[in-house]
């Protein structure tokens, strides 16, 4: 390691340590861990999503996340990380004969950059990356169902505000436990993905092995990218 690089790292560490002391001005900053649930709609803009929607391609989403503040980058700036899971589910009807469903599960890791604006109000920006699994099915009135799934890269960028409560739980000895609520808007990108469906194999192994080999049918390419609104409710501790 060169002396110049080593001195730079030492300077950065000292800066972070110093800013950490300064950043203890917001309720959120006193509780570095977070855990919660999220809900909110996603507004899909591509026509390929329409077969999975009844009218407008707006789908509800829900998820869970856990986070940890990593570093205080300045007097009012905090860098955090999150791991989360988000699921969208939608169903539709096609050609008056087919019921469709699409479930999208996304596993994601995110970095958040939080501004400690007020003790209870912290705007933030959030950048996430991960992978989505698109699980599609088409059922006809005859009882036949075709299913198929595919993985796709996932990314999201958004901005929001987080409201953090005071020390409401001091009475039970949880001095750092706080309630946090956030509202975030942004855009999630999921790479356009080819969806092929086929008849699912019977659950019974013997019956499954007895079936004639099945060929999948391509439904085409699905573009699941969407604008989203994310409302979270959780705890910081």
């Amino acid at each position: 390691m060169s002396p110049r690089l080593a001195s730079s790292l030492v300077f950065a560490a000292a800066t972070l340590a110093g800013s950490a002391a300064l950043a203890q001005t917001s309720n959120a900053a006193h509780s570095p861990w977070s855990f919660g649930a999220e809900v909110g709609p996603a507004w899909h803009h591509d026509g390929s999503y329409l077969p999975f929607a009844r009218k407008s391609p707006t789908t509800p989403a829900a998820g869970l996340f856990v986070g940890r503040d990593l570093a205080h980058l300045g007097p009012r700036l905090t860098l955090g990380a999150e791991l989360g899971w988000r699921s969208e589910s939608t169903d539709g009807n096609v050609r008056q004969a087919f019921a469709t469903t699409l479930v999208t599960n996304s596993a994601q890791a995110a970095l958040t950059l939080r501004v400690e604006l007020l003790s209870w109000l912290t705007p933030y920006a959030r950048f996430a990356g991960g992978a989505s699994y698109l699980d599609a099915s088409v059922s006809d009135g005859d009882g036949g169902t075709l299913t198929g799934g595919a993985w796709a890269p996932y990314g999201a960028a958004g901005a929001g505000v987080m409201l953090t409560s005071g020390r409401w739980f001091d009475g039970i000895g949880a001095h750092t436990l706080r309630v946090a609520v956030s509202v975030e808007g942004g855009y999630q990108y999921v790479a356009p993905t080819a969806i092929a469906v086929s008849q699912p194999a019977p659950a019974d192994e013997r019956a499954a092995s007895d079936r004639i080999a099945s060929q999948s049918t391509s439904l085409g390419t699905l573009d699941p990218s969407a604008a989203y609104l994310r409302v979270t409710v959780g705890f910081r501790f």
Binding site: W43, H44, H45, D46, G47, S48, Y49, L50, P51, A53, K55, S56, P57, T58, G92, N93, V94, R95, Q96, A97, F98, L117, L118, L121, P123, V138, D140, G141, D142, G144, L146, A159, G160, V161, V183, G185, G186, Y187, I195, V197, S198, Q199, R211, I212, A213, S214, Q215, S216, T217, S218, L219, G220, T221, L222, D223, A226, A227, L229
Partner: protein, 537 residues
Amino acid sequence: MPTPSRRTFLSLGLAALALALPGCPERDALLDAPLTVLGPVAAAQTLTWVDTRAAAARVLDLASPTLAVRSVPVGLDPVLAVARRDHDEVMVLSRGSRGEPGVPPAPGTLAVISAAGAPARTYTVGSPFNAVSQTSDGRFAIAHYLPSATSGRLLFNPNEIAVVDLDAPPSAANPARRTVRSFGGVPNAVAFSPPMPINGTPRTLAVVLSDAYVTLIDLTNPQRAETTVRLTLPEDARAIRPTQLLFDPEQSTVYARAEQSNDVYALRLAPVTPDGPDGNDFRPTINQLAAGRNPSDMALIGEASARKLLVVSPGSRDARVIDARANTTVTVPLDAVANKILLFAAPSPRDATPAPRALLYATGGLASAVSFLELADLDARRGQNVETVQLSRPVLSALDLPERGAVMLDHTSAGTTGQLSLLDLARRTVSPIFAEVPLQGATFDSDRQRLWVAPSYTARMGYIALDTFGPGEVRLDEPATRVIPLPGAMGRPGRVVALHPASAGSLTVLDAANPQRETARVVRGFLLDSLLDRSAP
């Protein structure tokens, strides 16, 4: 407190939402339209369905490793899909659109889709026809109206036709649209002749069948006027409907049989000097010949120089041999009523020499016996040339197996088993070959090696090897509604397809020469192929 920053921040968030909401796409009306399809139509190793609301053909390529589906646009409001004879192509007739909100008017079209994937040809037939007839070689097609049709237009001319030369590209002159002369009727059907030598030149004639008259159109010279021939006197109000035509090219004669008539009609095309450049060089002369009561089938027999017409008439329980040129008739009484004729050349139990003979039988459960007719020396021997063979049950329908010298008879009726039997034309013996399978829907493969049946009540497909008449069957995953054999070509093996009932499409593909479950493949949902791509803006 940095209030402006917070306001800016919230404003940006709301702006992002405002941008996202109007960005939602409009739902395509096709997604909510019912899925109605025409087909399937087999061409080479493809099966074609037509999604009528999407105005698109879905071509399933069974020779591709992935059973790929190709979408081909066709005209609006498709009403008919048929295979082009002697060609690996599918024809789709569309009525077009009279114009609706958001849908501009569009003319009727005939789209020709190649199984090989070549670009489709679209012929503008103009009017909203609903029927297509074609020559036996697939060279010409005529789009026309069926008499029961409604056009969905304020006005339409039911005698209008469009003649399409399918070997020529679409042009202003192709198709040629014209109106056939009418005596008040409308076309019931269109038949085509083989090349008929007239004035030394072979002609393909289109014969438009209407109630009480026929119209001849020279397709080789489509600019010439058509010739209409009345089958009744003008004052005769009978609705005589021509239903069967036979063409005798050597004698330039067309024979017509009609419902509601006890006569058959011989139209001899006599050469004449054309009356102008667009005049015809032939003129039909009609000869009306008595043919017993309710003649139901006819066949040409004898050498070209002594060609005669064999007619069976169930109403008078006889067969008649009519010499149209000599205007003579020989009546042969039958012990068993017959309404069908099958000509064959085979030995008989008393004659080891193959000779032209006829099997006269009745379908529809009318008789439990069939008649063999020796065609040689029939004028003199008459009834002595008839041998009656008793069957155990009435015949509902029959499948000719001329290559095998046999006829498969279906005796299916309520409460019976063992419904099929095999009639050996040479030995004149009848053998039951298997039971519990109705013959309806039975299909030969293209090289007539096997006869396939797929009863809808069981997940099995049966076949009979026509060389040994040995039966076999293949277990499927689900019952089939139809069997479609597809020919092999270019080193590809022949295939047989079992269609299953499923709204999105479902079928099983088997090797026709070696039908085994282990080498079969199932594909479902192909009618939804590219569903997501189609709904994209």
